[in-house]
C-alpha cells in the first residue's frame, strides 16, 4: 500500500489564496473522490500533483519521500499520471500508437509494430478494456476514448492516477462501463484521485470523499453512510446571500419569448419568457446546454427549430449583427478567447458593438467615441490610468467590465450574460451584479447563465432550471435553498 500526503500546502495567486494550508492524505487501493464548488481549490491541488503548478509553501510526500516536480513531464516520470477532461488523443492514429506515443518500440531503424500491438493488447486486456489496439481513434466514441486515455495513463505504471471529471461528456450507460474499469484499477497498487462535481456518482464509485471549500480542507469522509445533506453542507457552507434590492420589480410585459429551441446537439427543447426589467437566471450543470441556448437566441449559432420573439416581433434567422441592431447584447463566457480583442486598446474594445452608432457617416465621430468610452469607464468604475492601454493589461474583473461596457454602449433592451462572474474575484462579482441591477432599474432585462447557483439566488427574480438541453420548472429564489436548487439541476 502506498500513501500520498500533503503537509500544509498553499498556493497564492495574485489576489487570491487558491489553497490555504491543506494537509490531507490519499491511499492506494481506494477511490478517493475530491469535490468542491468552483474556486474551491481542487483544480489547483490536482495541478500541483501533476506538476503543472508549483505550490507557494508546504510539501507533499509519497510514502514519506518528498516530491517536487519541475514540469508535467517530470511529474509523469515520477509516477503521476493525470487524465484531463479535454482528451489528448490524436484522432488520426491508432489506439496502440496513442498509448505508446513518443516511446514506440523499435527494431533496427523501423517501428516494431508487432511488439507495439502486442504490448497494447496486453495492457487493454489487463484493464478489461474491449477495444482493438489497431482501431483508429477517430472511429471511437467519447467513452471509448476516455478508456484509451486511462490505458495510456496506466501504461506509464503510475503510482498516482488523477482522473479529472472523466464522465463529464458521457451518457449514463457509458458511465457504468467506465466505472467498471476504474473499480478494476483498485486491485493495482495505485493511488486514485477522482475529481468530480457530480455528487450522485460518489456512492457508485468512490470509497471516501475529500471536500475543499475556498482553498481550505473541510474534511474527509467515508462515502458509506454519509448523508447527502451533510456533503452539501460541507461543499457550500453556510452561504450568506446578499440579495438584489427589494424594490427592483419587473413589469408584466414580455420582451423576449423563447419557445422550443433546439440546435440538434446540446439544446433539445428550451423555452422561457423574459419580462421587461427582469433578471432571469438559467441554472444548470456544465454541459446542460445553457451557453448554446443563449448562442441560439443571439444568433451566434443556428437553431434548427423553435421560435424567438423579441419585442413582440418574430425573429427569423438571428445573427449577432441583426440582434445587435435590434438592441440585444450577449457577453461571452470566455472573454480572452472570444470576448475581447486583446491586441486592441481598452477604448477600442469598449466601442466594437457600438461601432455603427459612432456618428452617421463612415468616419468615426471621435467626440462621440470619447463620450461612449468615458461613460462606461465612469458608470462601471473601470480602473484605468489611460484608455489607450491594451485591454490585456487589465485585471480579470476589469476586463469583464469592458466586455459588459462594450454592450452597454448600444443601450440594449436585453442582455444575455454567459457566466459573467467567471474568473473574477468576489468584489468584482458584486460590482458586475450591481451593474445588472442598475440596468434592470432602467427597464433593461437580463438573462444570466451561471454554474455558481448561489449567485443566481442572489441576483435573479426568477430561475429557470435546465438539464440535458431541456428547460424544466421555474423557481423563485425566495422559495428555494441552494441545496434544493442544486438537486434540481442534477435531476434528483
Amino acid at each position: 500500500m502506498s500513501i500520498l500526503e500533503t503537509k500544509e500546502i498553499s498556493k497564492q495567486y495574485p489576489g487570491t489564496l487558491a489553497l490555504n494550508q491543506v494537509s490531507v492524505s490519499f491511499e492506494s487501493g481506494k477511490i478517493n473522490a475530491l469535490v468542491g464548488k468552483n474556486g474551491s481549490g481542487k483544480s489547483t491541488l490536482v495541478n500541483i500533483f501533476s506538476g503543472a503548478v508549483k505550490q507557494t509553501s508546504g510539501q507533499f510526500f509519497l510514502d514519506g519521500k518528498e516530491l517536487s516536480f519541475s514540469s508535467p513531464e517530470d511529474a509523469q516520470n515520477h509516477g503521476v499520471a493525470t487524465v484531463y477532461q479535454e482528451l489528448s488523443l490524436i484522432p488520426g492514429l491508432t489506439v496502440a500508437e496513442n498509448i505508446f506515443i513518443g516511446r514506440l518500440p523499435v527494431k533496427g531503424f523501423s517501428i516494431d509494430w508487432k511488439k507495439t500491438y502486442k504490448m497494447a493488447q496486453d495492457l487493454l486486456d489487463e484493464l478489461g478494456i474491449d477495444i482493438s489496439p489497431k482501431e483508429v481513434i477517430s472511429n471511437l466514441t467519447a467513452w471509448q476514448c476516455q478508456m484509451v486515455e486511462i490505458a495510456k495513463a496506466m501504461s506509464h505504471n503510475p503510482k498516482i492516477l488523477q482522473l479529472d471529471e472523466p464522465t463529464s461528456s458521457l451518457a449514463q450507460n457509458e458511465v457504468e462501463s467506465l466505472f467498471k474499469i476504474i473499480r478494476n484499477l483498485k486491485k493495482k497498487n495505485v493511488i486514485i484521485i477522482y475529481i468530480t462535481h457530480k455528487l450522485q456518482e460518489l456512492s457508485q464509485i468512490a470509497d471516501n470523499v475529500t471536500v475543499l471549500r475556498d482553498g481550505k480542507l473541510i474534511g474527509v469522509r467515508e462515502i458509506a453512510g454519509l448523508p447527502h445533506q451533510e456533503l452539501i453542507n460541507m461543499m457550500f457552507g453556510n452561504v450568506e446571500i446578499k440579495s438584489r434590492p427589494a424594490d427592483l420589480k419587473y413589469s408584466d410585459e414580455v420582451i423576449l419569448d423563447v419557445r422550443h429551441i433546439s440546435d440538434g446537439r446540446k439544446v433539445k427543447d428550451a423555452s422561457f419568457q423574459l419580462h421587461k426589467g427582469e433578471v432571469l437566471g438559467i441554472a444548470g450543470m456544465l454541459g446542460s446546454g445553457r451557453t448554446e441556448l443563449l448562442s441560439c437566441i443571439f444568433g451566434a449559432q443556428q437553431a434548427i427549430s423553435g421560435e424567438i420573439s423579441f419585442q413582440g416581433k418574430k425573429i427569423e434567422k438571428p445573427t449577432p449583427t441583426k440582434m445587435n441592431n435590434l438592441g440585444m447584447a450577449m457577453t461571452q463566457e470566455d472573454r480572452k478567447r472570444i470576448g475581447l480583442n486583446l491586441n486592441g486598446t481598452i477604448g477600442q474594445n469598449l466601442c466594437y458593438a457600438s461601432l455603427n452608432r459612432l456618428g452617421n457617416s463612415f468616419i468615426v465621430d471621435r467626440a462621440k467615441e470619447k463620450q461612449f468610452i468615458n461613460r462606461q469607464i465612469n458608470d462601471l468604475a473601470i480602473k484605468v490610468s489611460s484608455t489607450d492601454y491594451q485591454v490585456s493589461s487589465l485585471s480579470g474583473g476589469n476586463q469583464q467590465k469592458v466586455v459588459v461596457g462594450n454592450w452597454l454602449n448600444i443601450e440594449p433592451q436585453v442582455i444575455l450574460f454567459d457566466e459573467p462572474s467567471r474568473g473574477i474575484d468576489v468584489n468584482a462579482k458584486q460590482q458586475i451584479f450591481k451593474i445588472v441591477w442598475d440596468q434592470a432599474a432602467r427597464g433593461v432585462s437580463s438573462v444570466i447563465v451561471s454554474t455558481e447557483l448561489e449567485e443566481l439566488i442572489e441576483v435573479c427574480h426568477r430561475i429557470v432550471i435546465m438539464r440535458g438541453g431541456k428547460t424544466y420548472e421555474t423557481v423563485l429564489p425566495e422559495e428555494i435553498t441552494i441545496e434544493k436548487l442544486y438537486s434540481m439541476c442534477m435531476g434528483e
Binding site: A300, N325, L340, N341, N343, Y352
Partner: protein, 327 residues
C-alpha cells in the same frame, strides 16, 4: 534620476526604432556615395518605390484584417495587358483612336480588378480556404489569362499621353507616381485610423470571433480589404504599363514579396490585428533606399537579394522581441 532617463531613452528607441535605423542608413549611404543625397536621386528612389508602395498600403489593410494576398503581381500585369488590348482593338475596329480608347480600357481593367478582389475575398470567407492558397491559385490563373489574351507578346497599343501617368513630372520636378503614392498614403492612412471600416479591420484581424460576436460583419470587412488591395494593384498596373508603354504579362514578378516585406518591416503582425500605414511607408522607403544604395555602390544583384531577405528576418525578429518586451 539617471535610471529614469535611460528608461525614457530606451522607450524612445523602441518606439522609433525604424525611423532611427532609416536615418542611420541614409547617413551611412550619403558618406559612401556622393551622388546618394541629391534631389534627383531622392526623387528617383521615391519614383522607384511608388509602384510597389501603392500596393503595400493595400497589403497593410489586408494583413491587419488577418489575411494575405499574393495574387497581386499577376493582377498588376493583367491590368496593363487589358488596358492596352482594349485601346488597340477599339482603334483597329475603327471605333475610336487609341488616345480615347485607353479610357474604356482602364475602366474595364478596373472592373476586372474589383471582381478579382471580390473572388479572393469570397472564396476565403465563404469557404474558409486559407488566403495563401486562394491567392496563390489566383496568381497562377491571372498570369495564365494575361499570357493567353496577349498571346505571349507585349501589347504596345498605348497612346502617347498615357506615358505621363508613369513618367511625367509635376512642376517638372516631382514624378507623377510619387504624387499618387502620397495621395494613396493619406487615403489609406485615413481609412485605417479614422473610419468605422478601419476600426472593424483591426477588430476582425485581432479576434475574428470576438468581432463577429460583437455584431461586426467579418466577411464583409475581409472582402472589402481584398477589393481595396486589387484597386491598389490597378493603379500600380496603370503606372507600370505607362512607364514601359506596354502591357506585358510577365510584369511585376515577385512584387508580392516587396509589398509583404514593407508591411512586416513596418511593424505589422502577419497574424493580423496589428499594423499601421506610417510603418509601412517607412518600410517601403527603407527598402527603396537600401536597393538604391546597393546599386550605387555596385553591389551585385544577387547579393542584393540576400541582403533584402536577411533584412526581413531581422525586422520580424525585432518586432517579435519588442512584443516580448511589452508583455
Amino acid at each position: 534620476m539617471e535610471k529614469s532617463n535611460s528608461s525614457v531613452l530606451a522607450k524612445i528607441l523602441r518606439k522609433y526604432t525604424l525611423e532611427i535605423i532609416l536615418i542611420l542608413t541614409i547617413i551611412v549611404l550619403s558618406f559612401l556615395s556622393p551622388y546618394f543625397l541629391t534631389v534627383n536621386n531622392l526623387f528617383n528612389i521615391l519614383r522607384n518605390i511608388s509602384l510597389q508602395g501603392v500596393i503595400a498600403f493595400g497589403m497593410t489593410i489586408v494583413i491587419v484584417a488577418g489575411e494575405l494576398d499574393i495574387s497581386i503581381s499577376s493582377s498588376v500585369a493583367l491590368t496593363g495587358v487589358i488596358t492596352a488590348l482594349v485601346a488597340g482593338n477599339l482603334e483597329s475596329a475603327g471605333i475610336m483612336s487609341r488616345s480615347a480608347g485607353v479610357i474604356p480600357g482602364m475602366i474595364l481593367s478596373l472592373i476586372v480588378s474589383i471582381i478579382i478582389g471580390f473572388m479572393n475575398g469570397w472564396l476565403v470567407t465563404k469557404y474558409k480556404i486559407p488566403a495563401m492558397i486562394v491567392t496563390l491559385a489566383m496568381q497562377n490563373i491571372l498570369y495564365g489569362i494575361a499570357a493567353l489574351i496577349s498571346k505571349g507578346f507585349p501589347v504596345i497599343t498605348l497612346p502617347n499621353w498615357y506615358s505621363f501617368i508613369g513618367s511625367g513630372r509635376v512642376f517638372k520636378v516631382v514624378p507623377f507616381p510619387v504624387v499618387i503614392l502620397l495621395i494613396f498614403f493619406f487615403i489609406t492612412f485615413f481609412l485605417l485610423s479614422y473610419t468605422k471600416y478601419g476600426r472593424a479591420v483591426f477588430a476582425v484581424g485581432g479576434n475574428a470571433e470576438a468581432a463577429r460576436l460583437s455584431g461586426l460583419n467579418v466577411k464583409k470587412t475581409k472582402i472589402i480589404s481584398f477589393i481595396l488591395i486589387q484597386v491598389c494593384c490597378w493603379f500600380s498596373g496603370i503606372m507600370l504599363s505607362s512607364q514601359v508603354m506596354s502591357g506585358t504579362f510577365t510584369f511585376a514578378k515577385g512584387w508580392e514579396m516587396t509589398a509583404i516585406s514593407s508591411v512586416v518591416i513596418g511593424g505589422a503582425s502577419i497574424a493580423g490585428g496589428i499594423g499601421n500605414m506610417w510603418g509601412t511607408m517607412l518600410g517601403i522607403i527603407f527598402l527603396g533606399v537600401l536597393t538604391n544604395g546597393m546599386t550605387l555602390l555596385n553591389v551585385n544583384d544577387y547579393t542584393q537579394y540576400v541582403v533584402r531577405g536577411a533584412l526581413i528576418i531581422f525586422a520580424v525578429l525585432l518586432s517579435a522581441t519588442q512584443q516580448h518586451h511589452n508583455n
